[in-house]
Assembly symmetry: C2
Homo-oligomer: 147 residues x 2
DNA sequence: TATTGTTATACTCTATAACTATA
DNA sequence: TATAGTTATAGAGTATAACAATA
């Protein structure tokens, strides 16, 4: 019964936005009982893989501005999921705490379930094609990582 | 120099979000000199293709909640881009004005430029595969339109 | 009773500018 | 001079609940 939108339907940006919004909404639901938001979880996962990294490094990896990392990290620390020690007087070294590791493990499970729900609609070929193509769109594709 | 994120890089939801954010930021820049935001433009384009449609119909087509359509349409009307007439006492009939049609034409041009910038990074096969696959992710793919 | 539009409100993510203290 | 973190603030999109008027 919805109005047709043939022009929009052929736009890559529009389709990306709609598909992304659908997955983000589902992820938010899946993470709700951990009281974690998508941005917090991704940051926590980066810290888990990079002990003693700085806020700026996490932000750079995720394209989160330094200013926006401040309240994000503050909340993770308030909840006892992340510990922070002084690195060199102007930068901090972030570490996922024991309590944080439990949340990381739970989040990985939930993310896997969330991904599986959507991948069930795609063939393995479509899945592989998306993982190969999407990074190219944002310019993270063919050039060597680190360029 | 950025931290590697191999776990995230293999997540469809994460890659969709990053690719979508890259295109949305570029689109917002491209539309800035029209003083139009992406959500306003998409709504205006739907109205242009569906004269005398209602706010709710536009919202349904774009997955914008009725409550959020109110300030959006109000702004388009304040700017003289859209006219509204009473349809049946509880619903309005929306129509793009002459001034609005000029904005629609300009927006279509800008969107085409914006799309072309990103499509230049993809093969025609990759482009076609994305347009076929992305709707499936949000559940708009194989079932007949209107289900 | 269900639908359309509306108001009010809150949350999430993002953006910029300016400041501090260190290097 | 450049970097890391911070503060304050604003914008954009989205979400819910409740209400009035109408069908």
């Amino acid at each position: 019964m919805a109005l047709p939108t043939p022009f929009l339907d052929r736009l890559l940006g529009y389709q990306l936005r709609r598909a992304s919004a659908a997955m983000m909404a589902d992820l938010a639901r899946e993470l709700a009982d951990l009281d974690m938001r998508p941005a917090e979880v991704t940051a926590l996962l980066v810290m888990a893989d990079h002990p003693d990294c700085s806020q700026s490094e996490v932000g750079e990896a995720l394209s989160i501005k330094r200013a926006n990392m401040v309240p994000l990290v503050a909340r993770l620390m308030e909840r006892g999921l992340v510990d922070r020690t002084r690195a060199d007087g102007r930068s901090h070294a972030l570490r996922v705490s024991a309590a944080g590791e439990a949340v990381v493990a739970a989040a990985r499970e939930r993310i896997a379930r969330h991904e599986a729900r959507f991948l069930a609609r795609l063939s393995p070929q479509q899945h592989a094609a998306l993982l190969a193509t999407l990074p190219v769109i944002r310019g993270a594709g063919e050039t060597a990582p680190g360029d």
